[in-house]
Structure formats: C-alpha cells, structure tokens
Symmetry: C2
Subunit: 348 residues, 2 copies
C-alpha cells in the first residue's frame, strides 16, 4: 500500500517534495516509486527488488474482539506479502516493527509473533530484523517485505488496455462478511474455529487471508498479464485504481462475479446484498488484473493445472466509461469509487 | 536496531522459531540475520544489501515538549540511516510507516514529513513507499532503510580482536545533555535555535543527529576496521555489545574520551558528571568500533584528510576483563552494562 492511497492529504504532503523525489528516482535506481502496490528498485541486469511496507493499527484495522493475537500477526504479514504478489514478485525478506501496549503480557506478544512467523514460514519469507517498542496506546504492527522480480517485468496497475479481459484469482467479499459476523456477535473471536463451517470460512477469510503469491508468479511468468492489483479495499475501489492508473474504463459483469455459498447464505441471513460485501468490503487479498483477451482461456487452463482459480469477471473499455456494473437485467450502472472503511462499510 | 536488543523477552519469543530462522537464513541468501545493527542479504556476486527498521514512539522516544514535529521526522530517518552506516554501507532506499494521532492537523503531519524528507535528501536516500494510518494513541514512526555494501564486507559487531584500538567518530553525550536541558526547561522546544550557542549545539545533537555515513564508508573501504556499532544506547551499552559479540573485553581510557566545551559547561551547571551523559546517555549516533592498532594513525590521517574525526579512546583486551574504565588516577573500574532509558537516565 502506498502513501498516496491512504489519505487524500498525503498527496499534498508528498507533492511538495515531488521534484526531488522524481530526480532521486531517476538517478537512484528506482524503477517504480510511490503509487503502486510496492516500489521496484534496480538490483542488477537480471533482477529487480520489490519493496513494500504495511501497517496495522488496533481499533483502525482490527479490534481485540474480532481478531485473536496470532491472527493479528498472521494478517499483518499476509497483507505486506500480498503487495509483493500484486507486483508478480516472490517475497524474500521481512522486517517487523511492533509497538506493543505497556499493559500487554509477554504471552500475548508471543502469540502475535507466532502468527507473524507462521505466515512468513508459509510463504518462505526470512524475517531478518525488526524493532519492538512499548506504547501507552494500542498495538501497531508495521511489516516491510522485500521481494524479487525479473528485471523490467513487475506487474503494475498501469498496463490495462481496452479489450483486455478483467480477472480475479478467487472469491471476494468473504473477509468483510466474516468481520461483519464478528462485530455482530460481540463475543471474543477466540472460538471462531468452532463456528458452523460456512461462517468459519468467512471468518477465516478475514483473520487468516491467503496472499496470492503463486497466482502472481503464474501471471508474471505467463507474459499475458497487462495490469495487476491486490484487493485490499474492495472490488470497486481496486477496479477504479486499475482504471485510473491505466487510463481505461472497466465493465464488471454481475453474473460472472462468483458468490460463494457461505457468502450467499450469510448475506441472506443478515438481509444484505452479497454484492455489497464484494464491491465495498475489503481485505480479501485476491488479485484483480487484466490480460490479453485472445489468450485468456489459455491462461485459465494454466491456472486450473496449477490448482488455482482465474475468474473472468469483465472487460476493459475506453477511459470515459469509468468503472461500471453490467447487471443481470442488462442495465449498466456506474460503480461508486468509495473504498473500504474497516469498521463502518460492512456494518448493517 | 534488532529485535533482540529491545526487550529481553524478544529473545525468548524469537528463539522458538530459531531453528526455522537458521534454516531459512542459510538457504535464503541471508548473510547476517537478527542481532546486528542491520541484516545483510545476498544480491549478486559483488553486492549485498543491508536492511534495517527503526521505530520511534511518542512518550517513549520523544515528547512533544522536547521535539519539534520536523525534528521527530528527521531523527526517525537519521536513526535508521545510522544502522546502515554502522554496517559500513551506503543507504539507498527508505519506506516510512506513520501512525498519526486522530487529533493531529494536516500541518503537523506535513512538518513530520518535511523532517523525514530533509534527512533522506541529505543522505541521498530515495523514499520509495510507506503507509500512513490514524490512531487513537500517540505518533509512531517506523522507518525501513535499505543500503548497499560490497559483498562479504559489511562491518559487524563481532570482529574485534585483543590488541585492537577502540575508536569513536565524534563526541558523545551531547544528545543526552540536550534532552536533559529540554526536560528541565519544561517549555516547548520550538525556540531551541534561539538558545545560547553551546546549549543549542547540545539540543541539536538530540533533535537533529548526524548519522555517520561518510565515516562508515571510510572505515569499510579502509579494510582496517574489525568491528563497528552505532552509539544509540550510550557508550557503556554499545561497548558491551561489541565486547560480547566479539568475545573480547574493552578498556576505555577516561582521559582519551573527548568532552566538548558545551557538555562540560552544561554538566557543571546542573552538577552532573559529563561522563554520565557519555556512558549512559544515548542517541549520539556516532560510530564506535575497533581497528588494527598498528595502522590506527594511518586511519586517523585518512579521517583528518576527509574532514572527519576518529578519536582513539581505548583498546581491546581478552574476554574475561569485560568493559572497564581506566580512570585518570590510574584506577580501573568495571563499567555497568546498563543502557539508555530515554526519559529516566538523564534526569536529575
């Protein structure tokens, strides 16, 4: 996640130093600076490195009632790993900075670390450093991940072309629905694994998301992927990011958007439209991208062979159209640009 | 600063995953993992990268009454850059993660960024990414810096040999005395530049420290430096770190330790021993190291030619002696291992 995504005001803050930054980036081996999922810097003729930094803050990104300590750690690492996946890179090294509330026990902090290491282990990331400080406030975890990518081949947000197929690497909306369940429950989340299977899957999507590293690599190596982003802020917001970075429009086709059984049932139960979770929920960490439409079935076949999912959910249009939803009844509606607000959008 | 330095308990937390970490570090291109100023990872045959991550938290590392907003930003960047200098590396790229109190104005945040960018600019570091989140607590800034070093040539804490000369790249104690002044004053620090010149220099050492990048490079390129550390926690603590990492002892010679005029006068005024600020104060960010004693004058000459300082303040002894102070009266006293506690050690 880049500075410019987080706050409108950051755009202003950083624009003051923009000339300096551009000069630096041109001269200092910076291939992609602030503004994509991660930065890309030159290493040698064959390799570039992908640099990203992601922060999770108590009460903003998680609450004690929605996340177990080990889940908080796992998700913090997963979120940074996902930024590398969204560039088509292989995550290699991580540094962890934790600010821990003074009142916390060593056991709680240990569980956070267990989650961080479990996720690092899973994606073969070496934890090489970090910093732990205490604080009067809540828990803050900042994870920097460094990944590797073939020189000049990082997958940016800006490569989409009119006519491209728009794809996503798995189902969306589960994380936001899982959070919704946890918030409505108002019970500690320690026992979510004991919930009914469908609900447990939604909660798992929220608490232990899977960054799509293998899918990102497959897309990068295929040479068929034109643009890529990870879905941290909901489909609507991420589609707008691709569209604006590439100066194109995107039409999403409602009937192509996969709704899992568990999301369908849960949304019915709480009387919400499952598409709301998909469009305006967040933190699914699937990859959203565009690829050569003429060869998309070939790409889907490779995904199937690798045991992975590639759902085609729309197509790229010329820029003035913006991001739109082609509804099942044939009507076309412009999709709002609004992003994910952790503790408001998904509450009833 | 590494995880293991910060909290005793982190040692335990990380030792659980130690076998996994070691395996990873052996296989994954990690040359130096957690435990030195920074990690070192393999890039190609000629180059390695130095990775470090440093966090500053309000009320722990700074208070609004002791630091202007721009100083907080400057110092956060300086502290991470210093870790790269302490490995003999050249800082290249930075990522900034800020958790900002909800009640802050955009102007205050902008001043923090101005300080961060000013320091990055000074040391030619490209800011390539980051993350800004809001929080109910205080300000937290976490800076990751990536530097470059010739393969196999990073300067570690562990290379000191008995007989080595012990050196430091500039005067110590100024930062702690400056903090002491700011805390006693109990006035906003906005006007420290208007203080009497000597005091202003002490406060500047605290608020705008100079990481010793040039000195680190000179030491690294000389091939004469055996071990190196930056003085973030006071001379006593850092000398102990070198001694323990290298399995040697260190004798510091009191009369060789430079006391600046401003430190001498300030310590007199507040009736403290200037050596207390030097040994147990912190955040001077000078480099402390050891080098070949037979060629130390040659090294000092190179420093003088470059307009830099290299004070020889002691020598390396066999391990059982520990870290000692050879006093002006010829007596020898063991130096306590205690480190720097930001808001207690230097208060009267």
């Amino acid at each position: 996640v880049s500075l410019t995504d987080e706050f409108g005001l950051i755009r202003r803050l950083t624009s003051g130093g923009q000339a300096f930054l551009q000069q630096q980036q041109a001269s200092g081996g910076v291939k992609v600076g602030i503004g994509d999922d991660a930065a890309v810097v030159e290493v040698n003729a064959g390799t570039e490195w992908v640099l990203t930094c992601d922060t999770m803050t108590e009460e903003i990104h998680f609450k004690a009632i929605t996340m177990r300590d080990e889940d908080i750690g796992y998700k913090a690492m997963a979120s940074a790993v996902s930024d590398v996946a969204a560039m088509g890179g292989t995550p290699r090294f991580a540094m962890i900075s934790i600010t821990v509330p003074k009142i916390w026990s060593a056991e709680r902090l240990e569980r956070v670390y267990q989650g961080l290491y479990a996720c690092a282990h899973r994606w073969n990331v070496a934890v090489v450093g970090g910093d732990t400080t205490s604080s009067a406030g809540g828990l803050t975890i900042s994870v920097s991940v460094i990944g590797e990518v073939e020189a000049g081949r990082a997958l940016l947000r800006s490569g989409a072309k009119p006519g491209d197929a728009v794809f996503v690497t798995g189902p969306l909306g589960g994380s936001a629905a899982g959070l919704d369940f946890l918030l409505r429950q108002e019970l500690p989340s320690a026992d979510w694994t004991e919930q009914e299977e469908g609900v447990a899957r939604l909660v798992q999507a929220h608490c232990r998301p899977d960054p799509q590293v293998e899918a990102g690599r497959l897309l990068q190596l295929s040479g068929l992927c034109h643009s890529l982003n990870d879905v941290s802020d909901g489909l609507a917001s991420e589609a707008w990011e691709l569209a604006e970075a590439s100066d194109v429009g995107i039409d999403l086709i409602e009937e192509r958007i996969r709704i899992t059984d568990e999301l369908y049932r849960y949304a019915n139960e709480v009387k919400k439209d499952p598409l709301d979770y998909i469009l305006y929920g967040g933190e699914d960490y699937q990859l959203l991208g565009t690829a050569d439409a003429a060869r998309i079935t070939e790409l889907q076949l490779r995904f199937r062979e690798a045991g992975l999912v590639l759902d085609v959910i729309g197509y790229v249009t010329p820029a003035p159209a913006g991001v739109r939803l082609v509804r099942d009844d044939g009507t076309v509606a412009r999709i709002e640009k609004k992003g994910y607000n952790h503790f408001s959008s998904s509450r009833g």
